[in-house]
Structures are given as C-alpha cells and as structure tokens.
C-alpha cells in the first residue's frame, strides 16, 4: 500500500506530462534495492540519489545536494521549468532559485501536526523551509483551496502567487469487480455484515483514534457493523489497545491487491482526518464508487457535496458515528452517494484536466520569469 499523497501524485503528473511529449526528468531518492543512478520508466527519466543523515532534516539536506549534482549533469539543453514538491527539496530550490521554479505544497508541517504548532526543533526547521520555498519560488501550487489559504496565512505567500491544482486520480486503477461477500469472508467477516473501512497512516493527523471512539456509538445503533483499519503508523499499538473488544481489525500494511479488494468490498469508507490538505483517499474511494463519511476539514470539506456524494461531519467521534449511522442501514443511499462520487472523479479529478492546469502554471511561471529578467 502506498502511503501519502505526494509520491503518487508527483509520479503520475510526470507520466502525464511525458505522455504529452514533454521531456520530464524526475529527481528522487532511490527506493531500497534500486540499482543504477537513472532509469526510464513510463517515459519519465528518473535520477536517483542516495542521501544519508541521522535525522530527517540532515537527510533531506544531503538529498537536495545530490539532486542538484544530478540536475547539473542533466541540464543540457537547460530545463525550462523546475517543479519542487514539498519542503524536502527546498535546499535544492535555494541553489537553483534563478531558474523558472514552481513549488508545490502537498501539505504543511502545521497540518501534518493535526493543525497545531509544535515547539520542537524539527517543526521549526521544517516550517522555516516551507516558508522559504514559498518565498523564493517563481510560482506556488497547492492541492486545495484550503492549503492555499493555509500557506497564505502561515507563510505570507501572496495570493497572486498561489494556484490550486488538485491531485489527479486514475479511477480505473481503483475500480475492481469483486464479490464483496468473498472479500469479507477472507477477513472473517460475515458476507452481509456492513463493512466500514479506514485506509491511511495510523497517525494523529489522520484521526484513526476518533473513528475508534465512534465505534461504540455505531454499535449502539447496529451491532453487526465491522471495521477494518488498514495501514501502519506510530499510533498502532495505542489504537489496538483502545479497540480491544470492538469489532475492529488492523491488517497493518496491505498489498495493492488487498487494498483494491477491501476498497471495492467496503460499504463505507471513513476519512476521520484532523487535517487533510487534499485527501487522495477520498478520490480513491470515489473511484471505486464507495460511499464516504469524512470530516469537514481541508480538501475533504472542499470536495464533498454533503448528502450528494458523501457525508461531511465535524471532527469529533460523536459526529463521525452520526455520519456512519446516517447511511449504514440504507444500502440504496450508500450506492447513490458512491455513484455520485464516481461521477465527480471523472468530471473533476481526471489526470487530463489536472495536467492542463499544471501546464498552465508552468507557462505563467515562464512568462513571469521572462518579465522579471527584462
């Protein structure tokens, strides 16, 4: 199971650009086990670096240095636009700030911290880099209006500089014809028991604890509901303890196939995040035609039309339970909301549309840089 929205979003954007005939080079950290320094995958030229560091900040500094080295080697003829994703590569952005640069916020440190400020050094360091990235880049992209407002507020990024380009999704990758009963059986669940699914990192930001607290309130209304919380994270042990005696399973890390099966077999997908810049889980659940109950935050708040393609609730266990209870006993509404979401994915989050939007930002960045230069 892939974790986080950054990697797949950036990879797929690169592939879409390459498909349109652009030459795309992708500088990234080598996955463990990767051999060689470059590779051509789906038309995109990958340059791998192997950073080292004892903490995340040093690690990213080392990564940025290696990236710049690889970049200089490949910069002939010179690249037209440089697109940086999140704070990890801000030091590379610093060294290349004279070029046409676009900086993407997939989230902010404040947001990842559940919408709270932190007083530890990493928080300050990373927030500082996020501010600096927005400050020196030619233009800025965010994945939702919510993140746009957040970076304008947190980092004083001027309004004209920020454009919202949502993450795209390939709906066909998340649709699979499965027999829900058979999938449920595999997890020891009665084939007709309603299944509520959570997919994501088990971290404070994603609010898995809120869902667990909501479970007894759901069971009060209907005791045959079953829950699966797929994913790993630092809260896992605590959550398992909290869920003792409740009908919840923690399959931990799940393969892509298992993810698809669960996603297409679940009756409801719950996204209880405390902060969600975009919420890829939402577009993935919609791609599979699932009914979504999500908290009223960030990109989720922006993209869900309440009672039309999903249920939106305040960030608290009682409300999450209310949202689940509202649809759990009504298979017809569950199907209708899921189908409406699926239609929305095709109409708004198709990669074709998103690539158009990204190309538009690149063009404006070039024009702006050209004017600044003269």
């Amino acid at each position: 199971m892939r974790v986080g929205g950054l990697a797949p979003a950036a990879t797929e954007l690169a592939e879409c650009l390459a498909q349109r005939g652009h030459e795309v080079h992708y500088f990234t950290r080598a996955a463990p086990g990767t051999e060689g320094d470059t590779a051509l995958i789906e038309g995109v030229r990958y340059h791998f670096c192997r950073p080292e560091g004892t903490n995340i900040v040093d690690f990213c500094r080392s990564m940025s240095e290696q990236m710049v080295g690889a970049f200089r080697a490949a910069d002939d003829p010179p690249f037209d636009v440089l697109h940086f994703h999140d704070w990890h590569a801000v030091e590379a952005l610093h060294q290349l700030q004279d070029r046409v640069t676009v900086f993407s916020y997939h989230s902010t440190e404040y947001g990842r911290n559940g919408g709270n400020f932190g007083d530890w050094w990493e928080f300050r360091e990373i927030s500082g880099k996020e501010w600096y990235g927005g400050y020196i880049s030619t233009l800025v992209m965010t994945v939702s209006h919510h993140t746009r407002t957040e970076v304008m507020w947190l980092y004083n990024v001027p309004e004209w500089k920020v454009t919202v380009v949502p993450n795209g999704v390939r709906p066909e990758r998340f649709r699979k014809v499965v027999d829900p009963g058979a999938v449920k059986r595999r997890y020891g669940i009665h084939p007709l028991a309603p299944l509520v699914l959570f997919v994501g990192r088990l971290t404070y930001q994603k609010g898995p604890d809120l869902l667990i607290e909501a479970i007894p309130l759901v069971l009060k209304k209907r005791w045959d509901v079953q829950f699966i919380m797929a994913g790993t994270g630092q809260m896992e042990a605590e959550l398992r303890e909290k869920a003792r005696g409740l009908p919840v399973q923690f399959p931990g890390y799940i393969s892509n196939d298992a993810h698809l099966d669960l996603l297409n077999a679940a009756d409801i997908v719950v996204i209880p995040s405390r902060n969600e810049p975009f919420g890829l889980v939402l577009t993935e659940a919609w791609s599979a035609g699932r009914c979504v109950v999500a908290t009223d935050v960030g990109g989720l708040s922006e993209n869900i039309d309440p009672f039309v393609d999903g249920i939106r609730v305040p960030v608290q266990p009682e409300s999450i339970a209310w949202g689940i209870n509202y649809v759990i006993d009504d298979p017809k509404t569950i199907r209708e909301l899921g189908r409406a979401g699926q239609r929305k994915v095709y109409a708004r989050f198709d990669w074709d549309l998103v690539t158009d939007a990204a190309l538009d930002v690149y063009r404006r960045a070039r024009a702006l840089k050209a004017r600044q230069g003269t």
Binding site: R186, H190, L192, D224, D329
Partner: protein, 494 residues
C-alpha cells in the same frame, strides 16, 4: 402539453396488495386440535384488517373507480392471504375490490398466493402449486383468470421465469436490477423464452412511493399535472409504475393526487393502460431476439437479502422447505413482510420507506426463527427419525451458536448445524481456535442440538476443516434418517 401526431406514451399503474399474518412473539406450545396457523401467527387481527380496509383499501378503490370512468386503467396484484383476511374480517372491502377488479380497464395479475419470494422456494413444484391456488382464488372471487405474473417485490429468479409458461402466464413484471444486462431501459418490452417481460420504472415509482411524501424533496408537493408531464416526456414503449397499495393509507395527499391524475394524463397525452394492454399494442412476435433478458438473481436470492438477519432467516426457511411434510405454515412464513421487517430500511422501489431501529429488526428475526424452530420441532414427530429432525432443526436466537472473540460477539451466530458449517468458512482463525479450546462446539452439539454422537466426534476436531467435514457428514447421515416414507414423493398439500 398535448403531443399531436406523435405516438402517445403508455403508462401502466400496477398496485400490489398484500397483508401477511403477523407472527406471535413466541409460538404457542399447546397440544390441541386447533388450527396449526394459530400456534404461530396472530390470527385474531380483525381490527387491523378493518383498519387497513377503512384507511387504505376502500378510499383507494373509490378513487381508482372514479378514475376508471375518466379513462384511467390499472392492474392489481392481490395476494391470496389478503383475500382470505378480507373475506373474514372486511367482506365489504373485498366486494368493493371485486367490483373494481371486474372493470374492463382493470387487470388482475397473477402472484404467489402467500406473497412469498420466489427466490425462497425449495422447488418449482411449490411455485406452481402456489400459483394454481392463487389462480383458483382469483377466478372465484374476481371472476377473472390472470395472464401476467407480478412476483412479490417484482423479483424473479431464472428458475421461476423458466417455469412461468406452465402457470398459464404469458408475461411477467420485474425490475431492471434483477435482469442482465443490468442497465436495461425500463421503458421497453423484453422477452425471456416464450414469456414477455415488462420492467418497473424505479425512479418514477419512487417519486410517488417515497419522495412524494418528503417535504425536503425539491419537487414537493408533486402535482398530478407535473407527474403526467414527466410521463409524457419519457420516451419508450411504456412506463410501468409499481406501487404498494398501502401507500394510500398515508393521509389523503396521494388520494387527491390520483383523483387528479386521469385528467392530467389526458391533458399531457399519456394513455393509461394495463400490462396486457401494453403487450397487445405490440404484436405477438415483438420484440425481436435482441431484447432477450437474463437474470442476475441466483436461486438462493442472495441479492434480495441485504442483511445478515434476512439471509439467515431465508436460508433456514429454504432448508425447512426441503423436508417439511406439511408446508402450510411454512408458506405463510415465506411472506415477504417478515423479511422486510428484518431490515432497518426497505430498499425496494415502489414501497413506502420505513425506518425502524436495529432492535425492531432483531425482534422480528427472533419471532420468525422461534416460529420456524417450533414448526420444525412439531413436524419432527411426523418423520421416521424424530431425533434426526430435532438435531437438524432451526434454532431460535437464544439457542444459536454465537461466534465470539474474547467474550465479545464476532458479529454472526449459527442458527443450525448447516449454518454453523457455512459460518466456519469465514470465521477468523482466532475465533475458531478459541471455541475449539473451550470445547464450545461439542457442548452446543450435545446440549442444544441433542446429538451426543456428534458431540463426541466434534471434540476430536482440531481445526475448522475437520469440524466442517464432521458436521457435514453428520448432516448427511441425519438427513437420510429423517426422510420419512411419506415424503418420498411431493410434499403433502393441505
């Protein structure tokens, strides 16, 4: 909006009339010569039937009869159970219904006598028998012989569709969701073998059955003129609107709507007709081979049952139907209202949307299982091995094997040996292991199923496969012993 020079839309209104016998909270356990139905069902429901007649039936009949004079037409699917109840408790309502049914612009449809889901039937013989009884009753009361089949919930299985010509029906009504391909246009006439198929238009049916009553709906309140206009704008060969007649009991709004409908249809250029009228408008060789439909509903009818309770009750009923020497009570248990009561919300179209709490569904399930369990126990004495029949019987919820983990229910319970095998296929490893360690299966077999032999065998089982095999073997043994000499042929009829 009058459409001139264009073929007029044909609209077909079909009303489903049924009331089953309500189940007793617990069956009576008396050894008397009284009517066996009385042991399981509340049979003294004169007050309720009277209320149904006064509140819904009589006003609806009057409204529809007035409409007929203005060119309206409709079809009625009346269950035999309801006719019996009306005959006994509200003969005036039955007489009014009969007057309506004899009108040339009203068609009486064929439906199973007990309004049982065809997906539940143990065999097609049972279906043919039930249809034959219904046909005879319709002929006696209404003086007509139905030719079009309207199954309960308009849900049909392939087996029933194949057997249909043997009932004398030439066409059937159903819904697109039971057909293949699933995205059939409901406004066209289809074919299955020699039978022709009409499909209910779910959206337009639900406009009247559900949204009509909802002030939150953006088209509320819906006027007959607007609705007739929607019908007129619907392209196709016919629009089939299927509704529960119960809906008329929800205040006078729907009555007023149907009062105004015939005139509105006329203004909009919509022709009201009956299913036979639609078929007559299209020649007998119509439609062509490209309009052949298939069925999604397997014979187990799983897709109709959306909750664990419904599934559990339906499988128990099916298993009982396969051996009961006398199916009369069983037939009343197959009535769809028992199963509707086991879901918190009805999902079907053309029905009133009812919402009940989970507790109510659990209670409805408990009543049903207790009745079925008692019925099987009573019938056990009529087969060769009473002991075998008792072990194989359905159990009420309080005797079921509740799968659990650390003392918390895992979410399912086995209400018979057969269901236990089924649930062992998916029960989680730690759940099964826990029960084996505590010897729960063995104790259940000995103390509840009263089968010491099985208990001894089960105690040796170390894993789920061994358990399933042992139980399956025992079921086959017991079934052979249970088979009574008299049940070798077809089950006896009342």
């Amino acid at each position: 909006m009058r459409t001139v020079g264009v073929q007029k839309t044909q609209a077909c209104f079909v009303f489903d009339l049924h009331r089953g016998l309500p189940l007793r909270p617990a069956p009576l356990r008396v050894r008397s010569r009284r009517d066996p139905l009385d042991l399981y069902f509340e049979t003294e429901i004169g007050g309720e039937v009277r209320d149904l007649a006064d509140r819904a039936l009589l006003p609806a009949v009057e409204t529809l009869a007035n409409g007929l004079d203005q060119g309206f037409a409709c079809a009625l699917a009346v269950s035999g159970t309801l006719v019996d109840l009306l005959d006994r408790h509200a003969p005036d309502a039955l007489a009014a219904l009969a007057r309506l049914a004899r009108h040339p612009r009203v068609e009486v449809l064929a439906t199973p006598y007990h309004h049982g889901l065809s997906a539940l039937l143990p065999d097609t013989e049972e279906f043919l028998l039930d249809m034959e009884r219904h046909r005879a009753r319709m002929e006696a009361v209404f003086g007509v012989v139905p030719a079009v089949f309207a199954p309960p919930e308009l849900c049909v299985t392939r087996a029933i569709a194949e057997a249909l010509p043997r009932t004398g029906c030439t066409a059937l009504l159903t819904e697109p969701r039971w057909c293949l391909p699933r995205d059939l246009d409901p406004t066209l006439v289809y074919r299955f073998g020699p039978s022709r198929v009409l499909l209910r238009h779910c959206r337009l049916s639900d406009d009247l059955a559900q949204r009509f009553f909802s002030p939150e709906w953006d088209r509320y309140p819906l006027s007959a003129g607007t609705y007739a206009d929607w019908l007129a704008r619907t392209p196709g060969e016919c629009v089939l609107i299927g509704l529960d007649l119960d809906l008329f009991g929800d205040g006078g709004a729907l009555l007023a709507f149907f009062d105004a409908l015939p005139g509105a249809l006329d203004d909009a250029g919509v022709v009201a007709t009956t299913p036979s009228g639609v078929l007559a408008a299209h020649p007998a060789e119509w439609p062509g081979p490209d309009r052949e439909v298939g069925w999604t509903v397997p014979d187990e009818g799983e897709s109709w049952f959306e909750t664990i309770l419904q599934h559990s009750a339906a499988s128990a009923l099916q298993r009982a139907g396969a051996w009961l020497p006398d199916r009369e009570v069983w037939r009343h248990l197959s009535s769809t209202d028992h199963f509707r009561a086991m879901a918190m919300r009805t999902g079907g179209c053309g029905q009133r949307q009812s919402m009940v709490g989970h507790q109510a569904t659990v209670e409805a399930f408990g009543r049903f299982m207790r009745a079925l369990s008692a019925l099987e126990e009573r019938m056990a004495s009529r087969v060769r091995s009473r002991k075998a029949a008792v072990t194989l019987r359905t159990l009420p919820p309080e005797l079921a094997f509740v799968f659990s983990r650390d003392g918390h229910p895992a979410g399912y319970a086995a209400h018979s040996l057969a269901e236990c095998i089924e649930q062992l296929t998916f029960a989680a490893d730690d759940v099964v292991a826990g029960h084996i360690d505590r010897q729960d299966f063995s104790r259940w077999c000995r103390d509840v199923l009263m089968d010491g032999v099985l208990a001894e065998r089960v105690i040796q089982c170390r894993n789920r496969n061994e358990l399933q095999e042992t139980m399956q073997e025992r079921i086959e043994e017991l079934e052979r012993r249970r088979r009574s000499p008299s049940s070798a042929g077809s089950p006896s009829t009342p």
